[in-house]
């Protein structure tokens, strides 16, 4: 990670989230890396594509008594702003084939179509895929 130590060089980082939450650990791992990485003052974006859109669906209920007994980390996406991670993008096609709209999501996001998403990825220095 020598590149990250170059003083004053701000790079464009994109975290690409493509997995549903809870079934695998990818979604939570990605979120934790984002929060840790936030200390490095880079230009960070998050993209939610494919099943990754499900990560930010509202109304998760994972309680021990009535549910699966795992941590509901969907609530944590709401602190990203406090960590100065403010650029969240959702691919329109992924959202639509799941019957979801912007109103179903727990945080404000910018909706991009497939071409815009591809363009966003093309302009990154680093894409971290989860």
């Amino acid at each position: 990670m020598d590149d990250m130590e170059g003083e004053g060089t701000i790079k464009k980082f994109l975290y690409l989230n493509r997995k549903a939450p809870y079934g695998t650990v990818y979604a939570l791992e990605s979120l934790e890396v984002v929060l840790i990485g936030a200390a490095f003052d880079q230009d960070v974006s998050l993209a939610f594509v494919d099943d990754g859109v499900y990560q930010i669906r509202k109304n998760h209920n994972t309680k021990v008594d009535s549910g699966i007994g795992m941590k509901d980390f969907s609530k944590t996406y709401r602190v990203l702003e406090d960590y100065d991670v403010e650029k969240l993008y959702v691919e329109k096609e992924s959202m639509e084939e799941r019957g979801l709209t912007k109103d179903d999501l727990i945080v404000p996001v910018e909706i991009m179509d497939r071409a815009q998403m591809a363009a966003l990825m093309a302009e990154q220095d680093v894409v971290l895929s989860f």
């Binding site: 929060l35 509901d72 602190v79």
Partner: protein
């Protein structure tokens, strides 16, 4: 590892953080605090100013499921409790081992994400 609270044994990890969030009580917080030393090498005692931060952290965790990093905590405390408390000098004076690390432990939260 474990601590004894009101005759009941409560599990902690190797760094002294509670394993189960639900095991926390104010009594547990006092016992966790007393494991540390204050500036005069006496067992750490919790004042109202400490409790204010501890309760803030528990509410924050309940709402966001995360123990905040120091700079985020400082900002959030400032918003909630005022500027004179929302700065790292104040928080480090209260919790000399680090406001996030030490206060989170007393509050029964896991170690903050990104804290080494």
């Amino acid at each position: 590892m474990a601590i004894e609270v009101n005759g009941k044994s409560i599990e902690t990890d190797e760094e002294g953080y509670l394993v189960n969030l639900a095991d926390w009580s104010e009594e547990a917080a006092k016992i966790l605090a007393a494991q540390d030393k204050d500036a005069s090498d006496n067992p750490f005692e919790l004042t109202n100013n400490h409790w204010e931060v501890i309760h803030f952290l528990r509410e924050y965790y309940d709402e966001y499921q995360i123990a905040p990093a120091v700079r985020v905590l400082t900002k959030a405390i400032g918003k909630k409790l005022g500027k004179e408390k929302g700065n790292s000098k104040y928080l480090y004076e209260l919790f000399p081992y680090g406001p996030a690390k030490q206060a989170c432990r007393f509050a029964g939260l896991p170690k903050p994400t990104g804290c080494i």
